[in-house]
């Protein structure tokens, strides 16, 4: 009987025994990204282990490296909250001088990337270090207990964006770091999600194989911060894609006129012109994504806020060059 090759390596770099919360979507992300990275290193350099990781302070850092234990089966270093990109720059420079083949992988959460680490990230990208920076985006400061970051979506409850008499929750639209990264005209920028693992793996491999810097913004769920059922992480992440909340795209060399959009699925109707997606008619209303999440619960008493969210999503897609139609739920 023929044995099918597993779709991704069985090597583990994010070892079992880490201390992440049950149902942690980002832990799934760590596992997939490192596996994909390893495959890319094997294909590019003939050595699956030819990489080192620089990690920003954040939940995935603290749950994986509690002395005297480690969840990492790759060379790994954590320096501080805001400087994973700078530390990665230093490692890359050192490897160059040591004549070591391979690539550096940097991890930062949305707080460590979109906010405090933005400057170091920009410096690393601009200097063209041979580093792949993966921002795991769980849309709040989850390490310190669910405070809003600039990557928190509009309307979301966090402990520092509580809904109240004068507040609908987070009142600013989400900051899209991938677009800022792409403005550096680096070889490769993409958004990805644990809700589409095959796309995620493909993109990480592509990022790992380019020469020069690459940036991947990975959507990953947080049952604790999002107040969602533990077992629903991948499902909810997929709903974000299928309802239009989370666009999947790639931008190469900062060519914004040639953004590659990945079809969202979920019955969405995609219109193409010259191979390029120009319009998407989503079938699933964003309410399907919002409903299972406690962080959006209050919005259902404020339908105007959900309508505002729809407008913001349309505007965001417009930036990507795509006209979207977002349905309202059937009455």
């Amino acid at each position: 009987m023929a044995v099918r090759k597993p779709p991704i390596t069985t090597r583990e770099y994010w070892a079992p025994g880490h201390a992440a919360c049950a149902g942690c979507g980002c832990a799934t992300g760590m596992k997939l990204v490192t596996k994909a990275f390893s495959e890319a290193m094997e294909e590019k350099f003939g050595d699956p282990n030819a990489f080192a990781i620089a990690h920003a302070t954040g939940c995935m850092e603290v749950v994986s490296a509690v002395f005297p234990y480690t969840a990492w089966r790759a060379p790994w270093v954590h320096v501080a909250f805001e400087n994973a990109a700078a530390a990665a720059s230093g490692i890359e420079a050192a490897w160059k001088k040591l004549g070591r083949k391979g690539k550096i992988l940097a991890f930062g959460g949305d707080g460590g990337t979109a906010d405090i680490g933005m400057q170091a990230l920009s410096g690393m990208l601009e200097r063209r270090h041979n580093v792949v920076y993966v921002m795991y985006d769980n849309e709040a400061y989850m390490n310190t207990g669910i405070q809003r970051s600039s990557s928190t979506p509009y309307g979301a409850w966090t402990t520092t964006s509580p809904p109240g008499k004068y507040s609908i929750g987070e009142d600013k639209p989400k900051k899209w770091v991938a677009l800022i990264a792409a403005a550096h005209q680096v070889p490769y920028v993409a958004t990805a999600s644990i809700g589409n693992p095959f796309d995620l793996v493909r993109k990480v491999k592509k990022a790992a194989k380019v020469d020069g810097p690459a940036f991947v913004q990975m959507h990953c769920t947080c049952p604790t911060g999002w107040k969602t059922p533990l077992e629903k992480g991948v499902e909810i992440a997929r709903l974000a894609i299928e309802t239009g909340i989370w666009p999947l795209f790639e931008i190469e060399n900062g060519d914004f006129f040639n953004i590659k959009i990945q079809p969202p699925g979920g019955g969405a109707k995609v219109k193409r012109e010259g191979g390029r997606i120009v319009a998407i008619e989503f079938k699933k209303p964003i309410e399907e994504y919002l409903k299972p999440q406690g962080r959006f619960k209050h919005l259902f008493k404020r339908p105007e806020a959900i309508d505002e969210m729809r407008e913001q999503i349309k505007a965001m897609w417009k930036t990507l060059g795509v006209d979207v139609t977002l349905p309202k739920p059937e009455e």
């Binding site: 490296a65 790759a74 954590h78 320096v79 700078a86 230093g90 420079a93």
Partner: protein, 394 residues
């Protein structure tokens, strides 16, 4: 043959870095140390130094990149001053805690506000609790020599701590003085290759660095930094002895000048030591029993040497270009601690002077002398004295 030439302390620091052959240098320009990365970038551009020079976007990233590179197992160097060093502050703790022997050249400069680019020691003194070793140069030759010595001490397995070497803004950074550049082969012999036993990021033998420590382990990790500082005392003596044997120039943690029968000893650091030695010569000419002492090493604090020095004098007059508000200068606190339980101890007086590049003149030192003599005669004087203040503008 060593080359005898003239250069600024900034150039001397860049030459020291070149001779030490770091593999990664990450730097951001800041007055007055900008010439250090400029000169290094020339060395790299001309192929005279085979290193990666990362032109980072901030001092915070400069030291972070150095931490990354050092964690990956290579010799690493940077230069900074003042606000730049302050911006590195957070990561300085991390470099020491991770036991990475990075060397930083500091063109000692005041801190804002008001913004001021001239010399005092507040920048590096403010980093005294980070765990870093601290050396202070009196002249440009010392800037070069101490950087070489700092690498050797920092990389010693008994130490494994980062080190900073301070030299005074403009007084040294921008002043041309005679400097002897040692032979590369001799430096190679002295320093050797840096082969880290514990810090590397090698896929063949993966390790985790920079972990989280719970209360069960944190204190012990901090203790090892304490212990490494203690170990550094002996290692510095050994390295200075070897330095003298190799290069012919003698260094000590505390250098004493005409202290043998001194009643008043003026204690200072950096370039001010030169002025003070001249002043002591003048006093000796007048028959006044004065001496001078210079701290070449500030961290680890040379407690034993301070106790030894204190046996020689009736008054220790500490001249310092830094201030801890409501307490006095850093040296005042350190000397007080070193001597508090000694049976016999001299009077310790603190003099804050030369902040933000204010000249320290012989007239200023006359004032120090007068206050010291009053104390010697049993008169009551202030413990902390601001010297050279322009009271008319207050």
């Amino acid at each position: 043959m060593p080359i005898r030439t003239v250069m600024k302390a900034n150039e001397a620091a860049a030459w020291a870095a070149k001779l030490a052959k770091p593999k990664v240098i990450a730097a951001f320009p800041i007055t007055p140390s900008t010439l250090v990365p400029e000169k290094i970038s020339e060395f790299v551009a001309n192929g005279e130094l085979d290193a990666e020079f990362i032109k980072v976007e901030s001092e915070h990233s400069a030291i972070s990149a150095c931490v990354g590179a050092s964690a990956a197992g290579v010799r690493t160097f940077t230069a900074t001053a003042s606000q730049g060093l302050a911006l590195m502050h957070e990561v300085l703790f991390i470099a020491a805690g991770m036991r990475l022997p990075i060397v930083v050249a500091v063109g000692n400069r005041s801190l804002s506000a008001p913004i001021n680019i001239w010399n005092d020691w507040q920048d590096s003194i403010s980093q005294r609790d980070t765990g870093w070793l601290q050396f202070y140069a009196e002249n440009n030759q010392e800037a070069l020599d101490l950087i070489l010595a700092a690498f050797k001490v920092a990389e010693d397995e008994r130490v494994l701590l980062p080190a900073m070497v301070g030299f005074d803004a403009f007084i040294l950074t921008h002043t041309v003085e005679p400097v002897e550049i040692p032979d590369q082969e001799v430096v190679d012999e002295f320093l050797g290759e840096y082969e880290p036993k514990y810090a590397y990021l090698d896929p063949e033998r993966p390790i985790t660095q920079g972990t989280l420590a719970f209360p069960a382990h944190y204190m012990e990790a901090r203790y090892t930094v304490w212990q490494a500082n203690e170990n550094a005392k002996e290692v510095i003596d050994e390295v200075f002895a070897e330095f003298e044997k190799t290069f012919g120039r003698k260094y000590q943690k505390i250098e004493k000048y005409r202290t043998d029968d001194a009643e008043i000893i003026f204690v200072t650091m950096g370039s001010l030591a030169g002025t003070v030695k001249d002043y002591v010569d003048r006093l000796r000419g007048q028959g006044i029993k004065a001496g001078a002492a210079k701290l070449t090493v500030y961290r680890p604090f040379p407690t034993e040497e301070v106790r030894e020095l204190a046996k020689k004098a009736k008054v220790l007059a500490l001249l310092e270009k830094n201030i801890t508000f409501s307490v006095g200068g850093a040296l005042f606190q350190d000397f007080s601690r070193a001597l508090i339980n000694e049976k016999e101890k001299p009077i310790i007086l603190d003099f804050i002077l030369g902040l933000g590049g204010r000249d320290v003149t012989f007239q200023n030192l006359d004032e120090v002398l007068e206050i010291s003599r009053k104390a010697l005669n049993g008169e009551k004087v202030d413990e902390v004295n601001w010297i050279g203040l322009r009271k008319e503008i207050l």
